[in-house]
Amino acid sequence: MRKVAVVGVGETRFSGTQEKTGVELFAEAAMEAINESNLKPKDIKALFVGNVLGDFSEGQGMVQAFAAENIGCFNVPANRYEGACASASMAVRDAFIWVASGFYDIVLAGGVERAATMGTALATRTFAMFSDARYEYPSGITFPAVFAMLAHLYSDTYGIPLEKLREQMAKVSIQSYRHGSINPKAHFYGKYPDMPVEKVLSSFMVSSPLTLHDCCPFSDGAATVILASEEVARKLTGKPVYITGVGQASSGPLSNQDEFLPRIRAREVSAKQAYDMAGVKPGDIDICELHDCFSIASLIAAESLGFFEYGKSGEAWEKGEADIGGKIAINPSGGLKSKGHPIGATGAGQVYEITKQLRGEVEPERQVAGARTGMTDTLGGDGGTLVNLILQRGW
């Protein structure tokens, strides 16, 4: 296998309802990445695009082919990836594999979504399509309800009184809001720099115990990355960011994950693959963009990734150990909670952030000093799809 580097990244702002189409959003992010890589559209040999609900949000299927043509990548193979919220990470991982194998030298991977455009009712319905349609949707399952049940289970499993856990969860949201408030690409840029715990706890209940401020927003946006072989990368950039480990795993319906919950087995399988391949341990990770679709999801993820002991993540957030300058900087972008969650693009957005952080190119207030090794964690559905990527400085 060849070494593979990220040579360029691009991203629109993540936001509420956009006036731009999915193709337009993707094209803006893609051209930013192509220009940053010192490439031309004709240099791109394949396009791998995460897009989950374009069929529902704008009646557009097969967005990847139109996106390729739109940006001048004429007649290249273009694949769409659907793994719910992990779609773009699947696209990046597959792009990695194709470049590593030697089949392609340069691939553009990323994703686009208009989740905000759908509005809350349709978005809630379509997101619920990533639970089991026949055996679980009849119960009225929604995505907040999945993680709400995991929150109660977490409280019971680790013996943390619910009121205490809710305060810890609030601290997760508050940290993410603070980071996102100084990220110009974030959905909540300029908002909520210092949200009080009481405001999180007293906002309206979505699915008990999760309030509005425990939940990420529905966002519109796009993000792209360009991957190249080591040989090509060295010609294009003095700051190649190598993907040194990848992992992906799947699971069945939530109730069939039973006794392993509130841990997500697919994450532990996927993360181990990525760690083993990169030859690093959790303690080697300086910065992690993890899948905080809900506040409780951050606590669960940080434990399965090996950053904190099971049942202890909440304490870590309270002590600032998960903050910039702490033991590990988690979601300095603001994460899904504050940067936003355009589901088909989210994983590529995580890679965008890690790449910018490793290059030292983010706003000084949220730059993780000296970061050399970063990790992404993207969860699709209720653990049905999990992808982890490890990225390291190549200079």
């Binding site: 009712a121 319905r125 349609a133 119960s139 109660h152 289970l153 019971d156 109730s255």
Partner: protein
């Protein structure tokens, strides 16, 4: 290879308050809902069995924001129940005020009835789910 217990037949039984699953002839594990192979040992040698429909609540939530088309149903309680035979299953809980649902529900014994979701334009028809109630 024919699927032993398809959704249509599982659903028809559930509408009669009968919860069907599959018992593995190789390892004895019970698989619910039905799948192609045993969820523990992957053997395809499975026999249809009826479960008791009783168990204990493992976790719950009260839902206040519904999907499109299901706005009239909120608030409602979703539970995951560990059945006496082992598997967990998702359903709703009746007889408890969603505003009062708290951690004391976890561990409570429940028995099963059913309720039918009539389906929407995305769902390829109706689907029943377990409707649990607390055993006093």
């Amino acid at each position: 290879m024919a699927y032993k217990l398809i959704f249509k037949d599982y659903n028809e039984a559930l509408k009669q308050n009968k919860l069907l699953g599959l018992k593995c002839q190789a390892c004895g594990a019970v698989t619910v809902p039905p799948k192609m192979v045993c969820t523990r040992c992957t053997s395809p040698e499975l026999e249809i069995m009826e479960l008791k429909g009783s168990g204990r609540i493992k976790t719950f939530t009260s839902v206040y924001v519904a999907s499109e088309g299901r706005e009239a149903e909120v608030p409602y309680i979703i539970v995951m129940v560990a059945l006496g035979e082992g598997p967990w299953i998702m359903g709703n809980l009746e007889g408890v005020d969603p505003a009062q649902a708290g951690m004391e529900l976890i561990g409570r014994s429940v028995k099963m009835g059913h309720k039918v979701f009539p389906g929407d334009k995305y769902s390829a028809g109706e689907g029943a789910r377990p409707l649990f109630s607390l055993v006093k």
